[in-house]
């Protein structure tokens, strides 16, 4: 509280700039601690997902469900994306952001089909 005749400057004005920087770095350090805590505790349980994958033999993530070659890209064949007609272009937006499946790319091992 200010006494009569005395004026006390606000906190940010009383600190030296390097002390203010210390406060900012302290906040970053707190953020770093948050990151370390997040890394240390595994919040996401995979039990049910792993059990389903194992018992049902699932092979793909359910990220895009518009077409079979997007729902199961690892099982797609050469004709999946143009399945309707030889010249019909792919019309799903997700297909523009998905590359060809791994087994249709050049691989270091001999092809099996």
């Amino acid at each position: 509280m200010n006494r009569p005749g005395h004026f006390r400057r606000p906190l940010h004005a009383r600190l030296r700039p390097v002390q203010f920087l210390g406060l900012v770095l302290g906040l970053f350090l707190l953020g770093g601690v948050l990151i370390v805590i997040d890394l240390a505790r595994s919040r996401v349980s995979r039990t049910e997902a792993l059990e389903l994958t194992r018992t049902l033999g699932l092979t793909d993530l359910a990220l895009s469900t518009e077409a079979r070659y997007l729902r199961h890209p690892s099982l797609a064949d050469l004709h999946s994306a143009f399945q309707d007609h030889p010249a019909s272009l792919d019309h799903f937006p997700a297909a523009a952001a998905i590359g060809p499946p791994g087994h249709l790319r050049p691989a270091p091992h001999a092809r099996l089909d």
Binding site: P17, G57, A62, A97, I98, L112, D113
Partner: protein, 380 residues
């Protein structure tokens, strides 16, 4: 040592005071810089976490998957085909899987209908993924009516709904009794969609796959490693796509940094001239400018990275998830396990902190080595 620390703290004092004299401009640079780091870090953190998740979940996929082809297109495997594979040495288990796609016009989404061989739902009952339940507004105990491709309407009771934690693999799944599946799709009982093979020795997977291809000439064999590689390349592709778009932001920031590097403003040059005139040597001026670049870029990096971490692992990355994970009518809701790749962190810090610091240092060096009188007069 104490004297050195004291000297540096006084230099930082002066640097921060100089930055505060142009607070608006410097805060704007900090904000843009932080946004750039935020976009890059969000993209890298999300795609890295998704890649790890896919590897962890799909590590339990079948060792070998066999599909039959007819005229180059997928066809059903027969029970006889499956029996030809069973006796192969190295095969511990082979199971014909029955599954297919179903388009529900009521919600305009595709489901994956799968018959469960072990511990199936009761006849007339199904287990569904959380996405199916969410989209159709149903819960355990409710009825779900599906019109089969042959015409008849089938009404199933939802026996259970999978939890959100497994939605990455189960969101569109509808699991049913094998006889219900056969009746729904009107497929012969000795046919299956594909066959999943478990191999005893992981080192023999390729040999088993080669023998399968020899025994079933019209088949295609997919290995688990190819499945995993598909997802690695899928996320690499999408990450590259988003980073290419973010490069537009990086390019505009590079123009700003280049503008700084091409020369100092008149008042900045005069300031350096005055400092030299009152006794600062070139080393002190350069140290001060180095602190300026390091503080701005370091704060931007810290702010951007923290914001990206919270955005990806606490808010499910709404800004980058649609591009990196995909989008469809039926979309999984999932959390990712936090992960931080040290190389990614190093690359990001090098690409963001180093160029800006250098851009601040170079013009200051040019002014610092010039005669103070000439600098203050503005003749250089």
């Amino acid at each position: 040592m104490h004297a050195w620390i004291n000297r540096q703290s006084l230099l930082v004092d002066y640097t921060l005071s100089a930055l505060a004299r142009h607070a608006g401009r410097n805060l704007a640079i900090l904000a843009v810089y932080s946004c750039l780091v935020f976009v890059l870090a969000s993209t890298m953190l999300f795609s890295d976490a998704l890649r790890r998740e896919s590897r962890a979940l799909l590590s339990h996929s079948p060792d070998v998957l066999i599909q039959k082809l007819s005229a180059g297109r997928h066809a059903f495997l027969t029970a006889a085909d499956v029996e030809r594979i069973g006796p192969l040495r190295g095969v511990s288990r082979i199971e014909g899987r029955r599954w297919g796609y179903f388009y529900d016009p009521a919600v305009r989404a595709n489901y994956t209908l799968m018959a469960v061989a072990s511990d199936p739902p009761a006849r007339g009952s199904i287990r569904v993924g959380e996405g199916v339940a969410r989209l159709s507004g149903l819960a355990k105990g409710n009825a779900l009516a599906l019109r089969s491709p042959e015409g008849p309407l089938h009404v199933f009771t939802i026996e259970g709904v999978f939890r959100e934690e497994s939605s990455l693999v189960s969101t569109d799944l509808v699991l049913m009794h094998p006889e219900d599946w056969i009746e729904f799709f009107q497929v012969a009982s000795d046919l299956c969609t594909d066959a999943a093979v478990t191999v005893v020795n992981p080192a023999e997977v390729r040999n088993v796959a080669r023998k399968v291809a020899e025994r079933l000439p019209g088949s295609r064999v997919v290995l688990k490693e190819e499945i995993l590689r598909t997802y690695d390349s899928l996320f690499d592709w999408r990450e590259g796509l988003l980073l290419a778009l973010a490069s537009l932001l990086a390019a505009s920031f590079a123009v700003l940094a280049w503008n700084k590097a091409s020369g100092l403003a008149a008042d900045e040059r005069r300031e350096i001239g005055i400092l030299k005139a009152i006794g600062w040597d070139t080393r002190d001026v350069l140290t001060m400018k180095l602190w300026e670049g390091a503080l701005v870029s370091g704060c931007a990096f810290g702010t951007g990275l923290l914001a990206a971490w919270i955005h990806v692992f606490h808010f499910r990355a709404p800004l980058v998830a649609p591009v990196l994970a995909g989008w469809s009518v039926l979309y999984p809701r999932f959390d990712l396990t936090p992960s931080l790749d040290p190389w990614m962190l190093l690359t990001l810090s090098f690409l963001t902190i180093f160029p800006y610091t250098l851009a601040t240092l170079v013009p200051a060096w040019k002014a610092a080595i010039t005669d103070p009188d000439a600098v203050m007069r503005g003749s250089e």
